[in-house]
């Protein structure tokens, strides 16, 4: 298998170890964390304007969370042994610990919060449906049909605590992914204390953009009007998060250029050649600067509704592409240069293979299908009525 190599690479380095699937994985978990943070905006910080997207954000988070382990399983040399990570986790390994962080987040945060928020509908549905559906909803009720005002108030309070715990948990979820890369001292493109922080903020950006797009798409599909106050507020939070995210990335860049350590020449060369399109054009210009300037413009000047919706759609899409490019630049970019800093290799992305392009695309689309199913099973609309004192 001849892969074009420029300069010198250690013989075992020529073939990339982590493929596009390991780009998909942090991208997907990032969407999860970001969508959840958006949901928590309403629940914890009482940003009432984004309430129409609360349940949608939770379901989006769940859909992507369910898909997250798939790229990993497809990548492993022995996926049938993956249970070992839970049986004999190595406590010094960020990857092993992440298995538990993921499980915690799935079960104790996302599923629990969805269950608590939807319990009222679940009980009603378990009573109104028939056949298999009835069985399904009845199972979800765990045998309890108490939806009195008191019970719902308990749900509300516990749900609030879960959301509160969920915020640091979301940071932990994606911060850990950042740490998996950031703690590798062998790789100067990855090794940085900034890595978990950059990952968290770029996750929030991508998650918020995803929920924004899903919401706008859903309203279009249901032929309902988009709540402009809602999307305007979401776009604002997108802007704030973006500014922090961009600030962090610029800081990293300036620090590298200024210190210019032994890895700098290699990385600089990469940025000007192999990573120019994905990093400079896609990630920075189209994926960050354009959305920031556009949404920033909307904050200052009066832009008509229709144009704003168009802007949000375009910016949201550019953001998601930009954050995917960011993951690509970190994962693939970090493997394109030699640890001898004397050479570069090429990433051969196959179309049809276990870790190829088609599989990556399928994994990115799959959560949307799961979300569609979840929207059917647990419709986010109409919103649950807050119980009046009984």
């Amino acid at each position: 298998m001849m892969v074009p190599v420029e300069g010198f690479m250690y013989p075992n380095e020529v073939e990339l170890q982590w493929s596009v699937l390991i780009v998909v994985y942090p991208f997907v978990t990032g969407l999860v964390a970001g969508a959840f943070i958006l949901a928590s905006l309403e629940r914890i910080f009482h940003v009432v304007a984004v309430k129409p997207t609360y349940r949608l954000a939770l379901l989006t988070a769940l859909a992507f969370l369910l898909v997250a382990p798939l790229p990993l399983q497809l990548h492993l040399g022995h996926p049938e042994r993956s249970l070992e990570m839970f049986l004999t986790p190595h406590k010094t390994s960020a990857m092993a610990m992440f298995g538990f962080v993921y499980l915690w987040y799935l079960m104790a945060v996302v599923l629990l919060e969805i269950w608590l928020d939807y319990r009222h509908e679940i009980v009603l549905l378990s009573q109104s449906t028939t056949g298999l559906k009835r069985l399904f909803y009845s199972a979800l009720t765990l045998g309890s049909s108490n939806i009195s005002g008191g019970a719902l108030r308990v749900d509300d309070r516990v749900g609030w605590v879960v959301t509160l715990i969920g915020i640091p948990s979301a940071f932990l979820l994606h911060g850990y992914v950042g740490f998996i890369f950031g703690s590798v001292k062998a790789n100067p493109w990855w090794s940085s204390p900034l890595m978990p922080v950059v990952f968290i903020f770029s996750a929030m950006v991508s998650g918020i953009a995803t929920v924004l797009l899903v919401y706008m798409a859903m309203m279009k599909i249901r032929k309902q009007s988009i709540d402009m106050r809602c999307v305007d507020t979401i776009a604002q939070y997108l802007l704030y998060t973006f500014i922090i995210d961009f600030g962090l990335e610029i800081l990293d860049l300036i620090h590298r250029i200024y210190e210019a350590d032994e890895s700098f020449r290699s990385l600089d060369f990469l940025l000007h050649t192999k990573l120019f399109f994905s990093q400079v054009i896609l990630q920075i210009v189209l994926g960050t600067v354009v959305p920031i300037l556009t949404i920033g413009f909307i904050q200052i000047f009066n832009v008509p509704e229709k144009l704003r919706r168009l802007a949000y759609g375009v910016c949201g899409s550019l953001t998601i592409i930009g954050i995917f490019a960011m993951r690509w630049n970190v994962v693939i970019g970090g493997q394109l240069f030699s640890k001898s800093f004397l050479g570069y290799t090429t990433y051969k992305l196959d179309l049809i293979s276990r870790e190829g392009e088609l599989v990556a695309v399928a994994l990115l689309i799959l959560p949307l299908f799961i979300l569609a199913a979840l929207l059917r099973i647990l419709p986010p609309w109409p919103e649950r009525q807050t119980p009046v004192g009984n």
Partner: protein
């Protein structure tokens, strides 16, 4: 009382979680290899498994047990530090069953230049030649005795 009734579903949930936890612990007890953790965070049996792999190179001491005559010649010459299998290849099978596993003699036409062909990166003190100029195609064994290769005065064959 009604307070408990309103939280009853949470108790059911806690119960379900406890069941899952117990199941997990049972799975764990069953699937973790018995020798895991004996000497550290790894499967203890792996040590013995690794050390019982098959050996391909017997090691020069084994050769010298039988081929003492060659050793006599070699240890007085320039190749004293070159172990037998460095030129003769892996011979553990031959050492185990000398009668039936008979090794092939290496071809000096290709063997010697591997080390002695001139290369700018080789240490200057290491004997190296440009083989084309040095022997012009003649096989090395024609003049040099591999086990004691340095030519003595009056040694050279034409």
């Amino acid at each position: 009382m009604s307070k408990f009734k309103d939280a009853e579903h949470l108790v059911r949930l806690a119960g379900a979680c406890a069941v899952v936890l117990v199941l997990f612990l049972l799975v764990r007890a069953h699937f973790i290899p018995k020798s895991f953790g004996q000497y550290g965070h790894f499967r203890g049996d792996a040590l013995a498994e690794q050390s019982s792999k098959t050996i391909s190179y017997a090691g020069h001491k084994v050769c010298e047990d039988c081929h003492a005559d060659v050793l006599e010649v070699k240890k007085a010459g320039k190749h004293a530090g070159v172990n037998c299998e460095a030129c003769h290849g892996p011979l553990a099978k031959h050492a185990e069953d000398p009668g039936s596993v008979v090794p092939q003699l290496p071809d000096t036409a290709v063997l010697c230049v591997r080390c002695h062909e001139e290369n700018i990166a080789k240490p200057k003190t290491f004997p190296q030649v440009v083989s084309k100029e040095h022997s012009g195609g003649t096989v090395c064994k024609t003049c040099h005795v591999p086990h004691s290769p340095l030519l003595q005065p009056g040694d050279k064959k034409s």
